[in-house]
Every structure is written in structure tokens, then in C-alpha cells.
């Protein structure tokens, strides 16, 4: 090697001439552990597949059966609709909670206290039996019979959506508080009004913090929709239970439902990945870009 000497480094000591190559550390323990886990997993799988009492043939028969597919569609619809209500209302409650007006912020606090503090099951039943408390809803000529208004679907959406909004409001509030106050100041200094500051500057940056727990909430919601079984709205879980109560093939139908829930949450996780990437703009490649900018700084000094 005929490397040109670096001017400001000390003279190379003699022992450095046959410098040795660094070898990566080996991890034999990891390989052993992987082998053990592989054997255990393989054993479990053959156990489950080999066990006739799982009735895999019945699972196969019902996996794509008409009532199950209908249930899947309704579960999806319920999840999306209830999460939409939850997110929109949750943002409103979070913004009110952060309002300087003490009446508004206490009202928002009371909302999440109430809807987080009572069981979802109780809330669903209350909405469903609203007619017992208020036979007619509205005032004067604009009133409807509660029994017409409150179907299993509306009760399910109200129960799931309003409950979700209470949880979402705390997630959104945390996100808003995570945005440095200087961002809002800079936006106001440009002449934006409070609503513009929130919409254009604070919320888009809060999303980075809001999305991961919202993914949790969505997958949670997917499974919470099973609770509407008690008010007789026929989503995936209700469809499965209707079948097994007739055929007594309980386990295979529960497996059918579980496989669908698993498949949908897998799809939702993929969606979350892309949404996170979108809102990570300007933040995601922090380390790499820092290095990049340092390099250009040097470049500028030369130029």
C-alpha cells in the first residue's frame, strides 16, 4: 500500500504495519435458541393440525360461507364508521379540553371521564334501550319515536363511537401537546388564525404521535364490535354464534371468526405503516439527513 501520508496525523507506529481485520462477534447461543423455538413451534402446529377435534373441515366449510362473509362486511363497516366518529369527535373534545375557556375544558374533561369510566357494554345497552327512558326524541313537530330512531345499528354506532371519542380525545391531546409551542407561535406570527394554526401546523405534526396509538385503538375497535352481539346487530361474531347455536360446532366457528379478525388486523397494520410514513415527512430520516447537511456545510465552506 502506498497511501499518501495524512499531514496532521502522527507518524505511523511500526506495529501498525500488519494491522488485523476485525471479525464480527459470533452468537452461538442465538442459533441454539432459534433451533429450540423452531422445534416448539413446529410441534405446536402439528399438534393443532393433527387434532381432529378442531374440526378443520368444518372451519373450511364456513370460512367463506355467505352469513360469515356478510358478518365480515358489517364488522368492517362498523369498525370504520365507529372509528370515524371516534376520531372526529375525539379531535373536537381534545381541542375543547385545551381551550383557555374553563367551561369548555371542564365539559371536555367530564365527557372523557364519563365515557371512559363506564363499561362499553353498559353504554351499548343504554343506547339500545333509550326508548324506555325517552319514548319520543326531539321537540314539537320535529320529534320521532325512539324505537324508530334507535335501531341495533344506530345504537351500536352511538355506543362504540362515543366511547371511542373519549379515548381518542386523550390520544389527540397528547399529540397536540407534543408539538413544540414555538410552532404555533410562528404560525400566529405569520398571521394565521387559531383554527388555521391548528389545522395547518399543529395537527399535521401531532399526527406523528397520534397515529401509533390510533392503530391500537382501531384494532381494539375491530374486536370490540363483537360486543354488539348483546344488542342483536349481526356482525361477524353474531353470525358465527347464530350458526354454532344451531349446529353446536362452537369451536370451529370461533376459529372461523378468529381467522377473519386476524386477517383484518393484518391488513389494518399494513395501512398504519403507510399512514405513519406519510405523516413522518420531514422527521423520519432524521439521522441520515443530519449527516447530509453536515457534509454540505463543509462543501459550502469550500465554495
Amino acid at each position: 500500500m502506498t497511501a499518501t501520508p495524512v499531514t496532521d496525523s502522527p507518524a505511523r507506529p511500526a506495529f501498525a504495519r500488519d494491522a488485523r481485520v476485525v471479525v464480527p462477534t459470533r452468537h452461538p447461543g442465538r442459533w441454539a435458541m432459534a433451533a429450540v423455538i423452531l422445534v416448539l413451534v413446529a410441534g405446536a402446529i402439528t399438534q393443532v393440525i393433527g387434532n381432529e377435534r378442531f374440526q378443520w373441515d368444518v372451519v373450511g366449510d364456513y370460512l367463506f360461507a355467505e352469513p360469515i362473509l356478510q358478518g365480515v362486511a358489517r364488522t368492517l363497516m362498523l369498525t370504520v364508521a365507529a372509528m370515524t366518529i371516534g376520531v372526529v369527535l375525539g379531535v373536537v373534545v381534545a381541542v375543547l379540553r385545551l381551550s383557555p375557556n374553563p367551561i369548555l375544558s371542564s365539559a371536555a374533561w367530564a365527557y372523557s371521564w364519563f365515557f371512559r369510566g363506564t363499561p362499553l357494554l353498559v353504554q351499548l345497552l343504554f343506547w339500545y334501550f333509550l326508548g324506555a327512558l325517552y319514548p319520543t326524541i326531539g321537540a314539537g313537530s320535529f320529534s320521532w319515536s325512539a324505537n324508530d330512531l334507535i335501531s341495533p345499528l344506530t345504537a351500536a354506532l352511538l355506543g362504540l363511537g362515543l366511547n371511542e371519542a373519549a379515548y381518542m380525545s386523550e390520544i389527540v391531546r397528547g399529540g397536540i401537546l407534543s408539538v413544540p409551542p414555538g410552532q404555533a407561535e410562528a404560525a400566529s406570527a405569520v398571521g394565521m388564525r387559531r383554527s388555521q394554526v391548528m389545522r395547518r401546523v399543529v395537527l399535521p405534526q401531532a399526527m406523528r404521535v397520534i397515529i401509533p396509538p390510533t392503530g391500537n385503538e382501531t384494532i381494539g375497535m375491530l374486536k370490540h364490535t363483537a360486543l354488539v352481539l348483546v344488542i342483536g346487530y349481526s356482525e361477524l361474531m353474531t353470525s358465527a354464534s347464530l350458526i354454532y347455536s344451531r349446529t353446536y360446532q362452537t369451536i370451529p366457528l370461533l376459529i372461523v371468526a378468529a381467522l377473519w379478525y386476524l386477517a383484518i388486523s393484518a391488513v389494518l397494520s399494513v395501512g398504519q405503516f403507510f399512514i405513519e410514513r406519510h405523516f413522518g415527512r420531514g422527521f423520519s430520516h432524521h439521522r441520515v439527513s443530519r449527516r447530509g447537511s453536515r457534509a454540505t456545510r463543509k462543501g459550502e465552506a469550500v465554495a
Partner: protein, 260 residues
């Protein structure tokens, strides 16, 4: 947008008082800045200079006194013998004519340099995107960042971020620019670029009020300096007087500490 005539001061303040709780941080400040003038506010930390600057565009409220920018009251309107706070829309409208540059840059982290500069004109002034983009590119070129338009703030050095922040403020075509310690958060080797942009701005005739610790900049660029301490203006005048031959003991003490 402003109603000043050429001989009326761009900015005027009389007897401005402000307290945080029981602590009075501004104890009657008077100030006047002519159109095209550059004024530097100097003083030890806690002297109230940043608070005063933030009152000018109503990021901070004050308790007593008057402030006028371009012939309009800032933040308040007369109501009998008292002042009443303007509503949100009016405050926002007045702010849009006053540019502000912060110590911590505060660039919008989710927008590129170009988008940062376009944001105000597009959102507040409802300008067409193409028009706003053209001006944003020109402004970024003027601050020496034509090749950085598509970078996010996290991809820029502190000095580059601060120059984008100056371009963002200029995009609103302000009558008055406020600088709140614009170089205090920068590595020493990056301060020069920012000060050069500010010097150019001063030469182009922008009216500027600058809170700074850069005495060299104040001496060279400022038309007048105000030395503040303990919530009052201790001494003011051309930098050649206040910085070279300070009359007040507090000014002398501060300068000897800073220059030591």
C-alpha cells in the same frame, strides 16, 4: 395596508407596562422607530427586551400603554378611557404585516423550505400557489438557499434554517421585521451567514427591531440602540455613543462584562 405617511414613525410605544403575576417585567417603555431604521435592543437576560419585542405583534399582552405599528394600534382598541383587546381576526390581520424571526427558528417541521415560505401567503393572503411559489423561490435565492428549496428543516443546519425563517417572514411583505435573538442558538461558524442576510435587508431599507447580543452587528448596522435593564430603557442613542461612550453606569457595567 398601512396608513402611515412618510414622516410618521413606523413604530411607536409609550409607557408600556407588563407584569407576569406580581413581577413587573416592563416598567414604562417608550420607543420610536422611523421607517427604514434599524434599532437594536441590548441588555442582560431578564431585562425585558424579548418580552417587549413579543408585545409588538401581540404574542404577549401588555397591561398599560400604547403601541402603534404603521399608524395602527397593536392588539387593542380604545374603549372609553381604557383599551380593549382586538378580536382574533383583527390581531391575526395586524400580525400578517409584521415579520418575526425567532431564536429557535420554529420552521414548520412537516414542510419543506419552499413550503415553509409559501405557507403564509397561501393560507393567510389566499395567494395563488404559483404566485406564492415564485416569490418563495426568489426569497430563498436571496438568502442563499436556492439549492435547498426541497429540504425539510431537519435536513438543514441551524444557520440555513434561520435564513429560511427570514425568507418566511419576508414572504408576507412586512412593513416591520422583528428579530428575537436570531443568532443565539447558532454554532459560532454559522452566525455570519445569518447576520449577512440581515445586513443586506437593512441596506434594502427594511425597518427592523433586533434583540441581540451581537454588539458587532449593532455597532455596524444599527441606526440606534436601546440598552434595557430591569424593565426600563437605561440609555438609547446611536451605537457610536451608547456602545463607545456609555453615560450610564449600568450600561458601562454590561458592556465591560460582554466585551471582557
Amino acid at each position: 395596508m398601512t396608513t402611515t405617511t412618510a414622516d410618521e414613525p413606523m413604530f411607536q410605544a409609550w409607557d408600556v407596562h407588563k407584569s407576569f403575576g406580581h413581577v413587573e417585567v416592563l416598567k414604562g417603555i417608550d420607543m420610536s422607530v422611523e421607517r427604514g431604521e434599524v434599532v437594536c435592543l441590548l441588555g442582560p437576560s431578564g431585562s425585558g427586551k424579548s418580552t417587549f419585542l413579543r408585545c409588538i405583534n401581540h404574542l404577549e399582552k401588555f397591561d398599560r400603554g400604547e403601541m402603534w405599528v404603521g399608524g395602527q394600534r397593536v392588539g387593542y382598541r380604545p374603549h372609553g378611557d381604557k383599551l380593549k383587546e382586538l378580536n382574533e381576526r383583527e390581531v391575526a390581520q395586524r400580525r400578517s404585516g409584521i415579520g418575526m424571526v425567532f431564536q429557535g427558528f420554529n420552521l414548520f417541521g412537516h414542510r419543506t423550505a419552499l413550503e415553509n415560505v409559501m405557507e403564509g401567503p397561501v393560507v393567510v393572503r389566499r395567494e395563488k400557489r404559483a404566485v406564492a411559489e415564485q416569490r418563495a423561490r426568489d426569497l430563498l435565492g436571496r438568502v442563499g438557499l436556492a439549492d435547498r428549496v426541497d429540504n425539510y428543516p431537519s435536513q438543514l443546519s441551524g444557520g440555513q434554517q434561520q435564513r429560511v425563517a427570514i425568507a418566511r417572514a419576508l414572504a408576507m411583505q412586512p412593513d416591520l421585521m422583528l428579530f428575537d435573538e436570531p443568532t443565539s442558538a447558532l454554532d459560532p461558524e454559522l452566525v455570519g451567514d445569518v447576520l449577512a442576510v440581515m445586513r443586506q435587508l437593512a441596506e434594502d431599507g427594511m425597518t427592523m427591531i433586533v434583540v441581540t447580543h451581537e454588539l458587532g452587528f449593532a455597532r455596524e448596522v444599527a441606526d440606534r440602540v436601546y440598552f434595557m435593564d430591569g424593565g426600563v430603557v437605561v440609555e438609547s442613542g446611536p451605537p457610536s455613543e451608547v456602545l463607545e461612550r456609555p453615560r450610564e453606569a449600568r450600561t458601562q457595567a454590561f458592556l465591560s462584562k460582554v466585551l471582557a
